[in-house]
């Protein structure tokens, strides 16, 4: 018997897999980067639902760290796209 929260968790993991489709299939480089950005946000939702299921709070720490790392990675790639060096 599946819990209602289990179903929501599996739906959220499936949505992350949809973003992997855009990363693999995207015709240009910015399309893939959009997929990486959105994937990083969706994983935070997965971490939040897992923290309710297991009732442990350190998984939310993983989520916050993932937000910040995804932010830095996206900003670096955006700077690469504009054609500037990273120290300008």
């Amino acid at each position: 018997m599946m819990n209602y929260l289990d179903i929501l968790l599996y739906i959220q993991i499936g949505l992350s897999a949809i973003c992997l489709y855009r990363i693999i299939r995207g015709p240009t480089i910015p399309d893939r980067m959009v997929g990486v950005d959105i994937f990083g946000i969706l994983v935070v939702g997965v971490c939040a639902i897992i923290s309710i299921q297991t009732e442990k709070s350190f998984i939310l720490d993983i989520g916050i760290a993932w937000i910040i790392l995804s932010f830095i990675g996206t900003l670096t790639l955006a700077k690469y796209l504009t054609g500037k060096k990273l120290n300008e």
Binding site: I11, I18, P30, V34, I41, I52, I64, A78, T82
Partner: protein, 105 residues
């Protein structure tokens, strides 16, 4: 119970954002649809986590994660869309107006 309602609303928004990331024809359309929907959806999920745990360590961590997620994802999307424009990606065929080109002149 109220936490499950918030999480369900968040997952519906995430689903709409992922439909946008699959179906829309253009990089700019895809980014604006996906960022708005997914940011609001994940903030709603974290609100549900806060209502589940109440005032405790896990609840306060979820409450801290909401503004962090909100600001960082919007700033990252803005930088990414600017980089995409400077990289030379054309707008879609059905786009009718390009204000940023006139601003750059």
């Amino acid at each position: 119970m109220i936490s499950l309602i918030f999480i369900t609303i968040g997952i519906v928004f995430n689903l709409l954002g992922c439909i946008g990331i699959i179906r829309l024809p253009d990089t700019y359309n895809r980014l604006q649809a996906a960022t708005k929907c997914v940011t609001l959806g994940c903030c709603s999920i974290l609100t549900g986590v806060f209502f589940q745990f109440g005032i405790s360590d896990a609840g306060l961590k979820a409450l801290i994660a909401i503004p962090v997620l909100f600001f960082t994802s919007t700033v990252a999307a803005h930088a990414l869309i600017r980089g995409t424009y400077h990289f030379g990606i054309k707008l879609g065929e059905k786009s009718v107006k390009d204000d940023y080109k006139e601003t750059l002149k």
